[in-house]
């Protein structure tokens, strides 16, 4: 099992914050027994401890159900910041963070590319539609992290050895909430027509042919 790239950025950001300001990083994961390997990887990066909520069919759960399990775990817990990856790199849904924040009643922001602490407030830079937005959040809050935020460290040998001694609290999810959405199956994306290759050795000839094709065949140029 691989650590989701966006989650790796969230772990990295947590490490940077802890090393600067102190504190404790607990990892929280809902997933099958085999995901313990993923937890070890993030512990080897430098996180302090982990909670593994074991649910074998976790990939069948939708974001609403996952966020409900996470919210039940975190309600009553003490923390300053919850960091999540902005989306899963397979489903790209990007919903769990916002849902979790709302369930916990936390202010939040998504798609963070930068994070600082200024006078007890979290200063998040997020990539918005037309530029970078700087948003101040009080603690506790939740932030979802982009892979453009940092380059997650590769665990060192020392980190890997140390991770084996770090505590993982593991317990089953007794009953998962019902899904409100269902993935029915896959369809193949429509095939694109075969490419027409043009030799560019003589650039004048090549672009002349291209422009002709774009006008007459594809009709995208006037």
């Amino acid at each position: 099992m691989v650590l989701n790239a966006y989650d790796a950025s969230a772990v990295e950001e947590a490490l940077v914050l802890r090393d600067q300001f102190g504190g404790h990083i607990n990892l929280l994961l809902v997933g099958p027994q085999s995901a313990a390997e993923t937890i070890r990887k993030a512990l080897a990066m430098g996180a302090d401890s982990a909670t593994h909520l074991v649910y074998e069919a976790s990939s069948d759960l939708d974001s609403g159900a996952i966020s409900e399990i996470l919210a039940a775990e975190l309600s009553g817990a003490e923390y300053d910041v919850v960091l999540c990856g902005k989306q899963a790199q397979d489903t790209d849904a990007g919903l769990t963070g916002g849902m979790l924040a709302e369930r916990l009643g936390l202010p939040y922001t998504t798609n963070a590319v930068g994070l600082e602490i200024d006078g007890g407030q979290i200063v998040v830079t997020r990539q918005g539609d037309s530029g970078r937005e700087t948003i101040l959040l009080p603690t506790p809050c939740l932030v979802t992290c982009s892979n453009d935020m940092n380059d997650p460290r590769i665990p060192s040998l020392k980190g890997i050895m140390a991770s084996k001694k770090k505590p993982i609290s593991s317990r089953p999810v007794e009953s998962a909430p019902d899904n409100a959405t269902t993935m029915v199956g896959f369809v193949e994306p429509p095939q694109r027509p075969a490419v027409t290759m043009i030799d560019g050795t003589d650039e004048a000839e090549a672009v002349e042919r291209l422009v002709r094709e774009l006008k007459n065949t594809s009709k995208v140029l006037q």
Binding site: E102, S130, R132, E133, T181, V187, E188, G200, E203
Partner: protein, 322 residues
């Protein structure tokens, strides 16, 4: 079916084209099923946009005139949409999948108790279900998804539908909303606008996009000359953004913007799947790359193997002359 609710996102006092695309699709479903289309406009310029919303099919326009909405914070928009959902009880809540919308739907979903089918490329109401198709695994596959909930939110990829003018009734509903009450504890300090070129990327019908092969200011100038000749928007791969040649607002791909213009010209782009995920639905793709084995050629309609520093000026000139 009672109504379909569409949130219309605005930019520079205009309704985004991607929002009009979603509105057009909803008008089509509503006409078939005998439903109304209600829309939400929340912006300083909302009053001036009611007519345009009506001309793309809105029957009711909730106009919330407040410039605070132009700077993006998620809490007030989620609160507003949640309130209007409870007024309208819509069968479907649809919005363009902008970064602004993605920032809001998680909270809106929980507040209003509606499930979300996110980032879909097509959607419909079929019997007691909302059904949709969404690209997954960096758009290598399309997943069919559905929900049988009585009301469902969809966010829609730009370019999934055409924006087609069709008159709706256009009744304005002046909705009073207490922004200060709903803003919560987050504060927007600054928006550093980073516009690239004269044409907005997600609205453009032609995009010229830079990859790692565009190495320097000279390459950039050649690319921008071509873009301005074509009236095209400028895009970039993640590598080029990381090198600092273009800001992140130009980034196209799995973690950037998704575009599907009529013509996409990929300049010096190798075609990593993370990039392709953001542009594979373009109608015509031209790839210019010196490596004939570059994966981008598998997606291209036309491929030129050659040196972009020689091809670009020749292409600009050929287009100027034609």
């Amino acid at each position: 079916m009672s109504s379909i609710l569409v949130y219309l996102s605005t930019s520079d006092d205009k309704i985004r084209r991607s929002s009009l695309e979603v509105l057009s699709r909803c008008r089509e479903i509503a006409d078939r099923d005998g439903a109304d289309v209600a829309v939400v406009l929340a912006s300083g310029s909302a009053s001036g946009l009611v007519g345009e919303a009506a001309s793309y099919g809105a029957d009711r326009v909730y106009a919330v005139v407040n410039p605070e909405f132009d700077g993006h914070l998620n809490a007030p928009l989620a609160a507003l949409l949640s309130q209007i959902v409870s007024v309208e009880s819509p069968r479907l809540v649809a919005m363009a999948g902008t970064e602004g919308a993605k920032d809001v739907v998680g909270s809106l979903s929980v507040k209003a108790g509606l499930p979300v089918l996110p980032d879909v490329s097509s959607f419909d109401v079929a019997g007691n279900e909302v059904v949709a198709v969404r690209p997954v695994m960096a758009a290598k596959k399309l997943a069919r998804v559905r929900s049988a909930a009585p009301s469902v939110i969809v966010t829609v990829r730009s370019g999934s539908y055409a924006a087609v003018a069709k008159e709706g009734r256009g009744e304005r509903v002046d909705y009073s909303f207490d922004y200060a009450e709903s803003v919560g504890t987050a504060v927007l300090r600054d928006v550093a606008s980073a516009k690239v070129g004269a044409v907005d990327l997600s609205e453009a019908s032609v995009v010229v996009s830079a990859g790692r092969g565009v190495k320097d200011a000279d390459g950039k100038a050649l690319l921008e000359k071509l873009a301005s000749t074509l009236g095209a928007a400028i895009g970039a791969t993640r590598a080029v953004v990381e090198n600092g040649l273009y800001p992140a607002t130009a980034q196209i791909g799995q973690t950037g913007k998704v575009v599907s213009p009529e013509l996409y010209i990929a300049v010096g782009i190798s075609g990593a799947i993370q990039h392709v995920a953001g542009m594979a639905n373009s109608r015509v793709i031209v790839a210019i790359n010196k490596d004939e084995d570059a994966p981008i050629f598998q997606y291209a309609t036309y491929g030129i193997v050659g040196d972009l520093y020689r091809i670009l000026p020749a292409l600009t000139e050929a287009i100027e002359q034609s």
